[in-house]
């Protein structure tokens, strides 16, 4: 079940709680007409039986009212947009009013207005738009102008700022309001796949879905999908078919590795006697897809001989000819081609005519999984539930929680095989460990490549991802760690490191203390227990195996790396101080041994 899309409406009149007309707030009426569920929370929204909303709306006034005077608040607007753009569900689109009335609040609650409010060159809506387009983080937000003002004087200026559409408030009426908002969302909104088949809500994915919807509507055009292996080209094709409104079926063709004659037969069919073994007339995928959609996967693998025949199909005439027949048949199909060869234009394997007809420049680019790592948690959740259900009977697979460390580990893999590869990792984990209640990192068989090539361009990679780190290494890195982020943020994060180091070192001390207690050797001669540093250090270091001298060095390093307060804590504790004493006795020199 996907969330309703959420939109932000910045409007001085609808964003204000006060209204002077009697009856319900005009914002509520606007929402009822538009199919919007008002979730702003400042005024109650009526529940209606027959008006199921299609979108959630948050209203923002964009103004500050102080001492009986109203002024516009650009910083407040930008802050609110940022906030809602970072969290999920993020703004599917933003509607902005043009003119905002400022000035003195009159006794009846209305606002006096200033001469400058009605100057089209400085409309506040325009200022908001300009700020949005200058902000690198916000420039992808689709913006619709919601205004009943005469737009002629500012049409050009708004066009320069990539406005999706002008929407006159008078058009949001009880007859067409809901349909118009639905169309806006379909055409411009960054919205999830409501069917839930395509999982995710990252901006690259939502932009790709929007492009797919728009291209699906352009009847008679061919659509080319470019995407790495495992990115979900088939699913996207189903999505395109669903949004094309075509009544025929979706026919899928997988041609990679097929010989030329088979490719031709699969696509175009044959008549009886066309070749030995052709005992009956047989339609190809093209004819079966009539009035529907034909998907040709691995378009890059089509043999040159078949490309010529494809020309007629991909051209305006949409003709098909069965093998062995001289009769041509017209079909009405939407052709979707897909390939993972991202450089089709540079390739000499394709006829120029063919590339013109598939319009490579207008191809839909499916983002790789690394470009949409925000979606990985949702994909993990989906695959885990899917395979639990699949193996429920055969392996008695249990429902499990997903450990956050496992999620982080998966997010930070490079995933050259994209979603398919992630699915395999999850599928294997459920298959191998069906009866566990928590899916943790240890259940995941990560592809070798992911261990060798950690993900690039990762801001502040979590320490625990590098699971080969010992406590002493971790503490040491905290002194020198550099965050790859904007300067202001970097200072803030770096300033927080000493606190983190204090916590980690205290954690290390307590963990070691516990390990020393549980590994103590109790004998008749020593009923209090004899401290053994090697097994204790091995316990706190996970999979790593330390020799006695290495364990001694690790204890010395942890102690040395700890802040002064924690060192005092060590020395005041009988068990920890004993461990230090043993370590120093065993390794009196300052130097340390190699762990390996």
């Amino acid at each position: 079940m996907t969330n309703l899309p959420k939109i932000l409406i910045i409007d001085d009149q609808y964003g204000r709680i006060h209204h002077s007309g009697g009856g319900i707030h005009p914002r509520t009426s606007f929402c009822l007409c538009a199919g919007i569920k008002d979730v702003t929370g400042d005024i109650p929204f009526p529940e209606t039986n027959n008006n199921s909303p299609i979108v959630e709306g948050v209203f923002l006034r964009g103004q500050i009212e102080e001492d009986g005077y109203v002024r516009n608040d650009i910083e407040g607007v930008i802050e609110a947009i940022h906030k809602g753009w970072k969290e999920w569900p993020r703004w599917a689109l933003i509607m902005i009013d043009l003119q905002f009335i400022t000035g003195k609040v009159k006794p009846d609650g209305t606002i006096e207005g200033c001469e400058s409010d009605s100057d089209p060159s400085i409309f506040f809506g325009l200022s908001i738009l300009e700020r949005l387009r200058q902000d690198l983080e916000l420039r992808d937000i689709p913006v619709v102008l919601l205004s009943s003002m005469d737009r002629a004087p500012i049409e050009k200026r708004f066009a320069d700022h990539s406005i999706c559409q002008f929407l006159d408030k008078v058009d949001i009426d009880r007859h067409h309001g809901k349909k118009r908002i639905a169309n806006l969302l379909q055409d411009h909104g960054l919205i999830e796949d409501p069917s839930g088949k395509i999982i995710g809500h990252s901006i690259p994915l939502l932009k790709c879905l929007r492009e797919a919807r728009l291209r699906a509507r352009a009847d008679g055009k061919n659509i080319l999908i470019l995407g790495e292996r495992g990115t979900g080209k088939e699913l996207l094709t189903s999505y395109i078919h669903q949004h094309s409104g075509r009544i025929g079926k979706l026919e899928m063709c997988f041609l990679q590795g097929c010989p030329e004659t088979l490719v031709e037969d699969l696509l175009f069919g044959h008549i009886k006697g066309a070749f030995s073994g052709a005992h009956t007339d047989q339609s190809g995928a093209v004819e079966r897809a009539d009035k529907g959609t034909l998907f040709i996967d691995e378009f890059g693998a089509i043999p040159p001989g078949v490309q010529t025949k494809l020309l007629r199909l991909l051209g305006n005439t949409r003709e098909v000819q069965r093998m062995g027949s001289d009769r041509k048949k017209r079909v009405d199909i939407l052709v979707v081609l897909a390939t993972n060869r991202m450089n089709l234009v540079d390739s000499s394997d394709f006829q120029a005519d063919l590339l013109d007809r598939v319009d490579v420049e207008q191809s839909i680019k499916l983002p790789s999984l690394s470009e949409r790592d925000e979606d990985i948690p949702a994909l993990i959740e989906y695959f885990v539930r899917h395979y639990e259900a699949k193996y429920k009977v055969s392996l008695q697979a249990e429902e499990r929680k997903i450990d956050s460390e496992a999620v982080s580990l998966l997010i930070n893999q490079p995933w050259p095989g994209n979603i398919r590869q992630l699915e395999e990792v999850i599928s294997n984990a459920i298959n191998r460990f069906p009866r566990i209640r928590v899916l943790s990192s240890s259940h995941l068989s990560l592809p070798q490549i992911s261990l060798d090539s950690p993900k690039k361009n990762c801001d502040a990679e979590p320490f625990y991802i590098k699971n080969s780190l010992t406590f002493s290494e971790l503490l040491s890195q905290l002194d020198t760690f550099e965050f790859k982020t904007v300067p202001e943020k970097r200072v803030e994060l770096t300033n927080a490191l000493p606190n983190l180091k204090l916590s980690y070192s205290k954690c290390a001390a307590n963990l070691l203390r516990t390990a020393l207690i549980v590994t103590s050797k109790f004998t008749l001669e020593n009923p209090e227990g004899e401290v053994q540093i090697t097994p204790a250090v091995n316990i706190i270091s996970g999979k790593k195996k330390f020799s006695t001298s290495q364990a001694a060095d690790e204890i010395k390093r942890i102690f040395r790396q700890s802040p002064e307060d924690i060192q005092k804590y060590w020395l005041a504790d009988s068990i920890l101080s004993k461990a230090i004493e043993i370590a120093v006795t065993l390794r009196p020199r300052k130097g340390s041994s190699s762990r390996n």
Binding site: G23, P26, S29, S118
Partner: protein, 168 residues
């Protein structure tokens, strides 16, 4: 923006489009949804009927002043044409106005808009009588829908008037 356009903004943009029409349509949706006119909706309807009685006169005034307010003759009341001699203004201003009228049939626009306004007023009166006399919910809803559509047509028609004083 001339004074007539300011008046139009207040009536058409701020009130009719942004508020009144939305409220009429919102009320219709709520009535249809609840399948009866409950007390709360009754109060709303009453408020909107009253509001029309109070403000429809402003629309009449807007239409009555359209020709005068939009005519390029008004330019003679502002810089730089205000500096024209009285003698020149006396013949030039009516001429400009006449030429403007011959190219832009403002009187026809006003008449067409007045017709819609009259229909809206009639519909309002009918609604008022159904509401206060018969209380027939079906009739009220039907008439309310007609009234709302007429107010919508009226608003669209008012929007078609020129956005600025057009020179000839």
């Amino acid at each position: 923006m001339c004074e007539w356009q300011r008046l139009r903004t207040r009536i058409n943009h701020d009130w009719l489009k942004n508020e009144y029409l939305k409220n009429l349509d919102g009320l219709i949706i709520q009535i249809k949804s609840s399948q009866s006119i409950e007390n709360k909706l009754c109060r709303e309807l009453q408020a909107y009927l009253k509001r029309w009685s109070e403000r429809h006169g402003e629309i009449e005034k807007l239409l009555n002043t359209a020709e005068k307010g939009l005519s390029p003759r008004t330019l003679f009341e502002k810089e730089p044409l205000i500096r024209c001699t009285r003698k020149n203004k006396d013949w030039l201003a009516p001429l400009i106005h006449g030429l403007w009228l011959s190219r832009h049939d403002i009187r026809k626009w006003v008449k067409e808009t007045e017709t819609i306004l009259t229909e809206a007023n009639q519909s309002h009166a009918l609604l008022q009588s159904y509401y206060s006399v018969t209380q027939d919910e079906l009739q009220i809803l039907k008439t309310l829908e007609i009234f709302s559509d007429l107010v919508g047509d009226l608003s669209r028609q008012i929007s078609k008037f020129p956005g600025k004083v057009i020179t000839v």
